[in-house]
Symmetry: C2
Subunit: 309 residues, 2 copies
């Protein structure tokens, strides 16, 4: 619960200057909120669970590298939290160095592990001899550069000022139009109102693996004309053959077609966790297939009542 | 409506001595009812529509020859009637002749057109030179034999006494264990109570043909674990590309999985006609797939309400 007498508090993956902080700052009204950095994704989520903050922002997937396993696993099997919003941020790195350092001086480059493969080709082409080092965040990489541990960091250009560094090269990325998807989390709550351009996230648990298990699940969506936007299988950790599917799809839990698909999923899966329904950042409106509008469900239900006599 | 002051009245495909009459006589309590023969399937159904009778019995399908098109088309597109029961009768013909006639005397054999292909091989083997003639019913064929028009009739052995004929050969059929399925009809009404071994019949109309139309319909059943027992496509008569599917499947309209499948069908089809839910004559209990029991639907619905907040 938000205490009206104090500003909204957000946890995010710090330190200051991360892409996550940039994502958080893009939330309307977030500039007036309090931002509390944590060192790891689990720490961010635990802060929310312990009610140290009202909301949390973490990365969920990157269009080049795929999903962020730590976030997925925590939300799928940790103490439940709910996605209430998402943010898309273009992936574009800057090469940050201490003032005066030139390309020829760079023998080491640090970044978050997810940044490295996204700049792999650029690094090979421009600083082929530099050694790459992992940091827990791009901002931490910048801090290490400021401290003199490494020569350069791949980070958001917005991190330069914060760490007293210079932007040597801007707009580094191997793939054009790459974006990172961040999610805004709260403790379990009523979902935000449907906007017509929503996304829903659930985790489906397969208790005992059997042939056709995935097809069975996908059919629950396809038969109601629902388009999946992300699917990731992950082991649950409860032994071989026990796994889960993280699924994002078009629509809101309040939509009739989504409700029926979720009930279908609930019936055929060992368990289903509802992770949230929220407005899509890209505002893409789903194509609602003939026969799957709310109105079609209402009419069909009225008809069924009539024939049941 | 049945008038309590007079016996139940049944219309059936006559004349007396048909397999349909034998099917009707097998209905519990039907011996005390009034039986009114009509010359054709449409005449039987119209008598029920015009309220000349309370119920009607007609053949729907034969395990050797398939469905009876006249019955299917009338029930699919004529003024609605409802199936409230079914009867299975073994297909077994007798060769009926005037007393004293022997196999060597037989130069002509009459029967209903559906009987002929079921005895084709037997006829070819035993009376290869006899000419076959169509009659509007097997009983009418027997009448023609009694009248001296033909030498023999293929009919139920129970028809012999009625027409003063002798049974020359019994138990004639090319295929072992063949059965005919008859249905009991009433004017539209509340379906009989579910028994746990029920069948439901619907007609689905495809307004505009499109690729995958049949798969779309079948998926509505398969995703809810419902097994089809009969499917027949027929033109609706409303022009090329406009057709319908007659579908019989396991379960009762009161079952949750059936209700949801029917609503699904109603949403994706141009129109759906409910033709009836009724006890199966063979009393075969459906295998209800994991997750499709009524209880599973109830639990899923409760869960959905909880996550919708």
């Amino acid at each position: 619960m938000t205490d009206a007498s104090r500003p909204e508090r957000y946890a995010y993956l710090g330190p200051r200057g991360t892409f996550t902080e940039a994502a958080l700052l893009s939330i309307p009204g977030a500039a007036e909120a309090e931002h509390v950095p944590y060192a790891t994704v689990p720490a961010v989520l635990d802060a929310l669970r312990r009610e140290e903050v009202d909301s949390a922002v973490v990365a969920l997937e990157n269009s080049v590298e795929g999903s962020v396993p730590a976030t997925l696993d925590e939300l799928a099997t940790g103490e439940p939290l709910q996605i209430v919003g998402e943010i898309l941020l273009p992936v574009s790195f800057a090469l940050l160095v201490r003032p005066g350092v030139t390309m020829d001086d760079i023998k080491s480059v640090a970044s978050h592990p997810i940044a490295q493969p996204q700049c792999r080709r650029w690094l090979a082409g421009h600083v082929p001899d530099a050694e790459w080092h992992a940091a827990t965040s791009n901002a931490e990489a910048a801090q290490h550069v400021a401290d003199g541990h490494y020569d350069a960091a791949l980070a958001g250009s917005f991190a330069a000022a914060r760490y007293g560094l210079s932007v040597l090269v801007e707009d580094i990325h191997d793939v054009a139009d790459a974006v990172t998807r961040f999610i805004v989390l709260r403790r379990p709550c009523a979902p935000p109102e449907a906007t017509g351009t929503d996304r829903t996230t659930v985790v489906a648990f397969i208790g005992e693996d059997h042939p056709g298990a995935l097809l069975e699940i996908l059919t629950e969506f396809s038969v109601r004309g629902i388009n999946l936007t992300l699917i990731q299988s992950r082991p649950t950790g409860a032994g071989l053959g026990s796994y889960l599917f993280w699924m994002d799809f078009e629509g809101h839990v309040a939509d009739a077609r989504v409700g029926e698909a979720l009930m279908g999923l609930r019936r055929v899966c060992a368990d289903v966790r509802f992770v949230g329904s929220y407005a899509r950042a890209d505002q893409i409106r789903p194509e609602i297939r003939r026969g799957t509008h709310d109105d079609d469900f209402t009419k069909a239900s009225t008809w069924l009542e009539s024939i049941r006599g």
